[in-house]
Structures are given as C-alpha cells and as structure tokens.
Amino acid sequence: METKKINLDTNCPNTWCPGCGDFGILMAFKQAVTSMIESGTPKENIVITGDIGCSSKIADYLGLNSFIGLHGRSISLAEGIKMGNPDLKVFAFLGDGGCLDEGISHLIHAAKRNTDITVIMHNNRLFALTTGQFTAVTPKGLKTRSTPSGSIEEPLNPLELLIASNASFIARAYSSRIEDVKNLVLEGAEHKGFSFIEILQPCVSFYNTIEFYNERVYYSQNPNLESKESALKLAREWNYNGEGRIPLGVMYKTDRPVFESETLSLVPRKEDFEKCLKTHS
C-alpha cells in the first residue's frame, strides 16, 4: 500500500534553548499524531491550543490546526473548540505556570465537567520564558529571580488535585522517555472524557533537573486504575519537593458521561422560534 508521508512541520524557526525538554515532547507528539492519522483520524480534525510560555510554542512548530490563546486559558479555548465541533480531537498544551497558577480554575472545572479534551502540561516547575520565577510546583527553597532567598511556599501536588477534581484520566510522563510520552498521549487521546498528562520537562537554562529525574523516575502500573485510593497513593509518592521515587504512567482512569454529548443531547435539531415568540404575546 502506498502511504503519503505525513508532514507535520512548519517553517517557523524553533526558538527553544538547545537541550530543552520540549524537543522530546515535540518529537513524541509528532509520533503520536502520525500514528493517529495512520489509523484513520483525519489530520484536519486535529486541533491544538496553547497559551503563553515555552510549552505553547509547540503550536508554531506543528503543521496542525492550532490556536495560541492567552496565558492560562489554553484549556478554556480547547473546551470552546470541542463544544463548537465535537468531531474534532482537541489537545490543550500549556506549562505548569499557565495550568496551575494563572488558569487553575479552568483545569479543575474542565476535569469536573469531564470535557472531552486532552490536556498536556509541560512541567518544568518554574516560569521559564519570563526568565525564571517560581510557580505553584516550584520546590520549597528554590532560588528563582522572584525568590532570591528561596521559595517559601510548599509546592502543590497537581495529580492529587486532579484526583480530587474527578479527572477521568490522569497520567505522568517524562520528556526524555519519548516512547512513553507518545504512548500516553495516544492513550489520553483515545480516552472519552477529560484526560490530563503531566510531562516532567527539565529547563536547561533555569532549572536543570535532568539528573534528578533520571535517578528517580520509574514506570509504575496502577493495579486498579479505577481506584482513587491507589491513584492517590501513587500521586503522593513524590511531593514535588525533594527526595523519593517518581512514578510515571497512567495513574487513574475511569469512564463517566462526557460533557459535550450530555450538553448537546439537551438541544433538539428542530427549532421553534415562533413558539418562543408566542410566550410574549
């Protein structure tokens, strides 16, 4: 069978720092999308959204439909796109700052309503594009440009938060493990409902965590994917602060009604404007 080569490149110059973890995510995502297209998803039905930060530059580097929106609002844009056309496959890219600082309300509510999008959070554990300030997941004590004496805040555990928010698919990956990232993206995309994939991603310029992650990450399979208790146990193995092992893989997965189909089922195809008008006579 003759297969047409799938081109996912653009002519936009790449401005990530050499060695950035985002390159691994870009490569893995291209592989995942190629695989989706090869197995029948029309390329034109794939849409990615981004916000502002190194993570979202990925939209400029991918020859796919995309919308780079406002900082922290990537998820809201994605939700609107999915509601506008439920046939589309929508991926929301953003960083830990946009996802867990500026736009955390959207993350929680998108999980709660089980909107059918895949959120891919690049987690370098600080604001990088703005030259290094702390975010919600910066470890306590880390010196950044806005915390020269070390951050005094305890980091948030986003996976615990998502379990509490009823996210129906939660996974963690590491940008250096490209094959795992690709597989988790595919699994998340296939999941009907809200899927969240955290990708740990070293920032070589402001917080180089390559060795730290290489020593600690391990692939873990939750024996009972529908159990919040075992998911919580996995999520709590690492508190985003210091030591301990860092589990990767799918932590939680369950099926529940999807927001878009529930919403649209309430609206009939045939409208009756005149009937509504009559209530005013």
Binding site: E44, V47, S76, G80, M83, S105, V267
Partner: protein, 555 residues
C-alpha cells in the same frame, strides 16, 4: 386626548409584585395599549421593597412618570413610600387584611385566599382580581389573560381572582386603546436573546451577574425552542475564552455580563481582535465603578466599551434604548462581528435589560443571518491572507487541505508567530486598520442615529441608551429636536454633524457623573453646550427631564 396611565404595584421581595405587574401589563396590551414596565428591586431575596411601575399609553413609551394614577399596595411600606405620588384623583388599592385602617379601597385578599385554602403568596392574585374590577376591566378579558398566565388547570388562582373581582365595585373605566396593538411584551434582555438567535447564534456562554443574568435564564429556559446551546462556565474569563474557541470552530457565539464581570473579559476582547475571531460581548451596565449599585441604573461604561482593552484596535459598540432596538442591534452586531471578524459590544443597562417594552411583530422578520466571507477552497489556505479590504476569508478546523492557525501573538499570513520580521508585523497591523476603515463605512450607511421631535428646533437634546426613551418624550413635549446615536463605535460622525448642522444649542442628557457621550462626541469634534446629568442610580422621570431641560435652556 392621549390616554396615559401609570400604575405602581409594590410589596416586599417574595410577595410577587413583579409577576403581578406583568399580568396587569398583559391585560392592557390586550386592550391595545403600548406598555412600559419599570422594575425596581434591591439586591436581596426576601423582604425589602420591590415595585413595578406599569405605564400604558396610546403611543410608544419608554420612560416612567413621577405621578401615578393607581397604587396597588401589597404591604404597608408600599403605601408609605408611594402614596405621595398619587394624582389628586388617584386610587389606592391595598390589602385590607394587612392594613385595616388605610383610606382607599381595601381588598380582603388574605381572607379570600384563606377561605379558598390557597397559599399566602396567592394574595397577589386576589389583589390583581380586585384591581381589574376597580378599573372597569371586563371579566371576560381578565379571565382570558389570567388563564393563560396561570395555566388552564390552575382553578385555585382563577377562583381567588374571581372572588376578589366580585368583592369590589368599579370606580373608573379604562377604555380600549385605538393604538395599533403592538404584538409582544419583552425585556431588553429577552429581545437581545431573540435578536441574536435570528442572526444565527449557536452557543451562548455566561456567568451570572445582574442585570445581564436575564439573558442566561432566558436561553436556558428556551434552549429547546431556540436551539441555542447554553453554557455557564466557571467565570467570565472562561466564558469569553470558550466563546472564542467555539467561534474558531465555526460557531456563532455571544457572551454577557455586567460592568465588573464584563471587565474580566477585557483581555479576551483583545484576543478576539488580534486573532480576528468574531464574538459578540454584551455588557449590561449597572452603576459603577466595581460592584457599584448592582440592581440600579447607570451609564458609566460607554468610554470603557469604546476602548475595552490594551492595543490598537477598534470594535463595534451599539447602545440600544428599548427592546425593539435591542433585538435589531443584537442581530446587527452578531452579523457584523462575523462579516468583519471582530469583537462587538452590545451596551445595555439595567433599565433596558430588565424593563419590559412593547415590541411590534415585524421586528423579528427583519433580522436574519448574513453570510460571512468564507474560503473558496482554491490554492493554499492562509488564515490571515493580506487583502485589500483587510478581511481574510474564514475557514474552520475540520476543512480538508486547510491549516487553520490562529494566534494571540502578532502573526504572519499563515498564523505563525512573528517577532523578527518588521515588514510582516507592519503589514498585519495595516491589514487590520484597513478592516477598521471598512467598519467605519457602516457608521455612515446604516441607521446609526435616530432623530425625533421638532426637526426645526434650534435646540437639540442628545441622549443615548435607555435614557434616550424618556429624553425623547420630554424633548417632544418641549418642542425640541432630539438626536439619539445608537452606534457608538465607529461613531457616526457624518450623520451626527448633519443632524446638528442648523442647531444653535446642544443639551446632553446622561445617567452618569462625567457625561461620557459628551467626551466621545468631543473626540469627534462635536461639542455639547450644556449637560443634564443624573447619578442617583435611578433613571430620570419624564417630569424631572422636562424641568431640568427647561432650566438648562434658560442658563
């Protein structure tokens, strides 16, 4: 002689005075009258004081009078507050079981309800029943409207109304009107919802905030009939960004909030502008700044809507004054948003949003969905192709062989971020400027302003938004010219200058402290000579306007 009556129905929150007011209004509509209802309530759920003022006339009206002909009081407070406004021949109707010693006509409302084993709130039904008899409405007309309101199966309310009707005598007789019998009664919010629907609205997003919430309630209640998907996200920022996302996917979207909530959408309006993604934003102003006076009137957001966010861009702003204009201009703005791929702002206010106005049947027949400029599917698709008009053809994700890349960053024709190439950055800004020039043509061609009253008068009164309704009437009574701009951005400079060319004195009337329309006019080279401003958070009455405009003329 022109018939013109005003009735106040008042009580504590939860006593149903608003519903009673609407029923009374519908009966007068049936008698052929034009109706306007002013609703006054506080930001509380039970207690306090609520009232509806129903004004009926042979002619279109959109403002309240100070003096009233009938006062229907559900409680003592209503009598205390409004008895002073009764005309010398005015009638006071009250609940005898609550206020045994008042002068006027008492209705045994509570006793009738108790006797028929109804709920206490049904006392309002008894009050309506008694009122209708007192002003000489035939039972057959009353019955017809009441049955429609209560539902034919609700015998209890009908029995209560009838017993109260029979318990009192007729004092006066309000005859049928010879007016043209306007077809509908609706609030400005409801009219906006219907106008948008006719112009092809697909999805409505909103977070609750008075006085814009009426639109959300209306769409939610009529979702099945109107076919407009109605969604309440977690906050105004989500609302605006989701609406932009849906528009990018090809669906017509509208969002609404009030002043402070609208301000939360500011950054998203900029995104709509730079990404050229059409969204209709509705701002139903309250008296500001910030939380302000939440359930009362103000017109203090005009200049903010003209410049709703950082960056060089222009957006449409229209400020209708009554429900007919609300329907028409909501339709216009939604269509123009898509035609020009731009944010639009419909500027309402509390009195327009929640006031009830007569609407003629033909209004909705004139509103239809106008087609946007779509990609012809030839050659390579570029979302931001440079064109002479500045308008680039639209295409939506899901279209074969088209890559739709959209951005909040300055971008090239393909939608990719540009930072280095100054020529592209310049070209893209100029493309949008050309589009704004196209938008300005609308300000010259459409009925962007209205002119009423004595066209030969050397004195012109200018007002806008809801306030315009009362100012028009007062100006007509005083024999003056009245000019009302509806499109505020792009400002209809040519039409305004033409309307004012033979005028020697301009009197500006607004519900704010600074005269914001005056500032906007001055930016366009038109200067008001005098200002009549009110900022008590309550709208002008006709009498008050006649008095203040006359005084202004003498200064």
């Amino acid at each position: 002689m022109k018939k013109d009556y005003s009735i106040i129905v008042g009580g504590a929150a939860g006593q149903g005075s608003r519903k009673a007011g609407l029923i009374i209004a519908k009966i007068f509509k049936k008698l052929g009258y034009f109706v306007y209802i002013y609703d006054d309530y506080q930001s509380l759920i039970k207690g306090g004081h609520n009232f509806s003022q129903i004004r009926i006339s042979d002619e279109f009206i959109a403002g309240r009078r100070e003096k009233i002909d009938v006062l229907v009081a559900f409680d003592k407070k209503t009598i205390d507050l409004h008895e002073k406004d009764l005309n010398t021949k005015g009638i006071l109707i009250f609940n005898k079981n609550k206020n045994p010693e008042e002068k006027g006509i008492g209705i045994d409302a509570d006793s009738i309800v108790k006797h028929l084993q109804g709920k206490p709130i049904m006392a309002n039904t008894a009050m309506i029943g008694g009122f209708l008899k007192i002003i000489g409405i035939n039972w057959s007309i009353a019955k017809n409207v009441l049955e429609k309101e209560f539902g034919e199966k609700d015998n209890l309310n009908m029995e209560i109304a009838k017993q109260a009707y029979d318990s009192v005598n007729t004092l006066t007789k309000i005859e049928k009107s010879k007016a043209k019998n306007p077809e509908y009664l609706m609030t400005g919010n409801e009219a906006a919802a219907l106008g948008a629907t006719k112009a092809g609205l697909d999805i409505y997003y909103a977070y609750p905030m008075t006085p814009a919430s009426g639109i959300l309630h209306y769409f939610a209640e009529h979702e099945k009939d109107l076919g407009v998907v109605t969604i309440q996200p977690e906050n105004e920022i989500a609302v605006a960004n989701e609406a932009i996302g849906s528009a990018y996917a090809g669906k017509r979207t509208m969002v609404a909030s009030s002043s402070g909530g609208f301000a939360l959408m500011s950054e998203a309006i900029c995104l709509s502008a730079i990404s050229e993604t059409p969204v209709l934003f509705v701002n139903s102003q309250r008296m500001g700044p910030a939380t302000g006076v939440p359930t009362y009137s103000g017109q203090s957001d005009l200049l903010f809507c003209i410049n709703p966010g950082p960056g060089d861009f222009e957006n449409f702003v229209a400020a209708p004054s009554n429900s007919e204009e609300s329907a028409i201009w909501t339709g216009n703005l939604l269509n123009w948003s898509w035609k020009y791929q731009t944010p639009s702002i419909l500027l309402l206010d509390k009195e327009l949003s929640e006031g009830t106005f007569s609407v003629s049947k033909n209004i909705f027949k004139g509103i239809r969905k106008e087609k946007e400029l779509l990609w012809n599917k030839k050659g390579e698709y570029k979302r931001y192709s440079i064109t002479e008009s500045g308008i680039s053809p639209l295409s939506f994700p899901g279209t074969k062989d088209a890559l739709i890349k959209t951005s909040s960053y300055e971008h090239d024709e393909s939608g990719l971020t540009v930072e280095e190439n100054e020529a592209i950055i310049t070209a893209m800004q100029e493309k949008r400027i050309r589009k704004f020039e196209e938008m300005k043509k609308i300000a010259d061609s459409e009925d962007a302003i209205k002119i009423y009253g004595n066209k030969k008068s050397k004195i012109a009164v200018i007002s806008w938004g809801f306030t315009a309704g009362a100012v028009r009437e007062a100006s007509e009574n005083l024999g003056l010219k009245f000019v009302q701009p509806i499109l505020m951005s792009p400002f209809p400079v040519k039409q305004m200058i033409k309307a004012l060319q033979d005028v020697e004195e301009i009197i500006l009337v607004e519900n704010n402290t600074t005269g914001q329309l005056g500032v906007l006019m001055a930016m366009n080279g038109i200067y008001a000579d005098k200002k009549v401003l009110k900022y008590t958070s309550r709208p002008f009455t006709i009498e008050e306007l006649e008095d203040r405009i006359t005084k202004a003329m003498k200064v």
